[in-house]
């Protein structure tokens, strides 16, 4: 198997076969990501959007401070994107390491005509696909709750899926390069929790120190939150295009990082 990433190392047929395998082997109860993709964010939506929101709107006159009509409209799309962040972290650490080191499913897959590059891309894509399916449902919940103001919102699940894809590619690339899982809790503490809090999902970054704000703005979480909010509110402009370019560029780099990591890990597994 070539250890370099070439165009011929990734084919649609190869990806389709791996995705079919991943679909079949995922038990029905886990095939549905309703809990992590819909129920949890909906819970937050009710708690924060309606509960805390009533206080925020009352005290801050939300429309002017947040740039939306109210806290529900502010936090709803943010929760959609931030769920993608948590999902990507959740699926890219232990479950990914397991496929190579413990269950070793991909060690066997690598002995079939598909390439390791295809295994890496399909693995990351499967994480994003499952989340996107849940994101469609959660966007409907947002619409019913009144947190959506534009038909642009139909693209919000794709934006959230892209957030999961980009982040998963980077984290999976990290995971498969680790000798063991000792570093995973540290990544959760230093990566997932700050990104959860400081991506602008719950409060505008204008309220945090400038350095923290700029640091947050280079993360997929912030771009995801902003893009989902712009789509949900129909305020699509050049900023939205910047987010899309960010996802394409960082996603491509992340995927190369994941592919080279899988190639190395599977050749030694």
């Amino acid at each position: 198997m070539s250890s370099s990433l070439t165009a011929s190392s990734i084919t649609a047929g190869g990806l389709a076969r791996i995705l079919e395998h991943l679909y079949v082997r995922t038990p029905a109860k886990y095939r549905s990501v309703l809990v992590s993709g819909v129920v949890s964010p909906a819970f937050f939506l009710g708690l924060l959007g309606l509960g805390l929101g009533s206080l925020v709107d009352e005290r801050q006159n939300g429309a002017t401070t947040l740039g939306t009509d109210g806290y529900l409209e502010f936090i709803g799309p943010g929760l959609l994107a931030i769920s993608a962040v948590l999902w990507a972290f959740g699926q890219s650490l232990w479950p990914t390491a397991g496929e190579i080191n413990w269950d070793r499913t991909y060690v066997l897959t690598a002995a079939t005509p598909v390439s390791t590059a295809e295994i890496a891309v399909a693995h990351v894509a499967w994480i994003a696909i499952r989340f996107t399916a849940a994101a469609v449902l959660f966007t409907m919940v947002l619409a019913v709750a009144g947190a959506v103001a534009s038909w642009w919102a139909v693209f919000a699940p794709l934006a959230a899926g892209a957030t999961a894809l980009v982040l998963a590619s980077i984290i999976c690339g990290f995971t498969v390069r680790q000798e063991n899982e000792d570093t995973f809790p540290m990544l959760l503490r230093l990566g997932a929790i700050p990104m959860f809090l400081f991506s602008g999902a719950f409060f505008p970054l204008s309220g945090v120190p400038a350095a923290v704000g700029w640091l947050a703005r280079v993360t997929p979480g912030w771009h995801g939150v902003e893009l989902c909010r712009e789509l949900a509110q129909g305020s699509v402009d050049s900023h939205s295009f910047v987010h899309v370019v960010y996802f394409v560029v960082v996603g491509a780099l992340g995927m190369v990082y994941a592919v080279t990591g899988f190639q190395q890990a599977l050749s030694e597994a």
């Binding site: 070539s2 250890s3 995922t26 070793r104 060690v107 066997l108 005509p113 050749s267």
Partner: protein, 324 residues
């Protein structure tokens, strides 16, 4: 099936000065061998000998560091997909999907080789019949015994009608009955003309199955040949095993008994090997050797005369046992 190496006599695998480095570690250190069509070829050696690394290069999963390797006449670096499409791989540990049934474990795998769902199901039933698991087709994998799981792994490896099957330590961890059943199935495959490459550290397995084998140690091939020819040329016909028990109070240390046996063997011009628990004396006539040792006042707690095995060949060539 279209064979790229259709010319009779072309080796299925050909390696020349093959090297595999992991960082500074030379896992495979310049080995040469070839495997002929229809042959059962074994790589025998202890853990760390380089057997599995060689297997990974042949299965195209691990890139060759240097040297030449051809599998089914193709270059693994350039033709990985085409090679893998024609290989069957049975990994050392059973990589089975616990979420799927016995049959699904084969059908899911079959799809990677381009079989339609109907073909995959038909092929799975055929293979489960072959490995005597047809009655378990709809069962979950988890409750299967170790031997059944290994047979399922073998059935899965055959889904694409492979021209070469790689078996990495196929019977490690199995009880004797399961091992013999597995060997019998592998004999069947051999009779069908499938080329088999197996690694093992069980000398009896290599003796039972292999037409030809290489003995590997520390990344190198120590020797190669048929099991019988290796025993005949690299070792004696018989081996006398002498065990010296715990010394009674006030008597000699058991090491003295072992040392006396080694000296006596040297006097008798017989080669001997001292292991932690016993002394081996190599002789073409075991009974005569034992009588000679007795004449030299060698008195062991227990003695055993047996035919030499590949284990003895390995010990003779490397000074170490296969399982240390």
């Amino acid at each position: 099936m279209t064979l790229v190496t259709a010319r009779t006599g072309d080796p299925v695998v050909k390696a020349h000065n093959l090297v595999k480095l992991y960082g500074e570690h030379r896992a495979v250190d310049g080995i040469d061998f070839d495997i002929q069509p229809g042959e059962t070829f074994a790589m025998l050696g202890p853990n760390g000998a380089g057997k599995s690394s060689t297997m990974k290069m042949i299965s195209t999963v691990s890139p060759v560091t240097s040297g030449e390797l051809r599998v089914l006449g193709l270059d693994p670096a350039a033709d990985g997909r085409r090679i893998r499409a024609r290989l069957g791989v049975v990994p050392q540990e059973d990589i089975l999907d616990m979420a799927l049934t016995v049959r699904e474990n084969i059908t899911v795998y079959a799809r990677y080789f381009g079989l339609s769902r109907t073909e995959a199901r038909h092929r799975a039933d055929e293979l489960l019949q072959f490995v005597q698991l047809a009655d378990r087709a709809d069962d979950q994998v988890r409750p299967l015994s170790g031997g059944m799981k290994r047979r399922l792994s073998i059935a899965r490896s055959m889904v694409n009608n492979p021209e070469l099957i790689l078996l990495d330590e196929p019977t490690t961890g199995l009880d004797p009955q399961a091992r013999h059943l597995l060997w019998e199935r592998l004999y069947q495959l051999k009779r069908q003309g499938v080329t088999l490459l197996l690694t093992t550290h069980y000398m009896d397995e290599a003796e039972q199955l292999a037409d030809r084998l290489v003995i590997m140690d520390r990344g190198r091939i120590v020797t190669e040949g048929t099991p019988r020819s290796l025993i005949e040329t690299k070792c004696s016909r018989d081996v006398v095993e002498l065990r010296f028990g715990e010394p009674a109070l006030g008597t000699d240390d058991p090491d003295d008994g072992a040392a006396r046996a080694e000296t006596a063997a040297a006097h008798l011009r017989l080669r001997s090997e001292r292991l932690p628990d016993r002394v081996l004396v190599y002789a073409d006539d075991g009974d005569r050797a034992l009588a000679g040792l007795a004449e030299h006042d060698v008195s062991a707690a227990s003695t055993l005369i047996r035919r030499a095995t590949l284990e003895d060949v390995f010990l003779t060539l490397t000074g170490r046992t296969l399982v240390e």
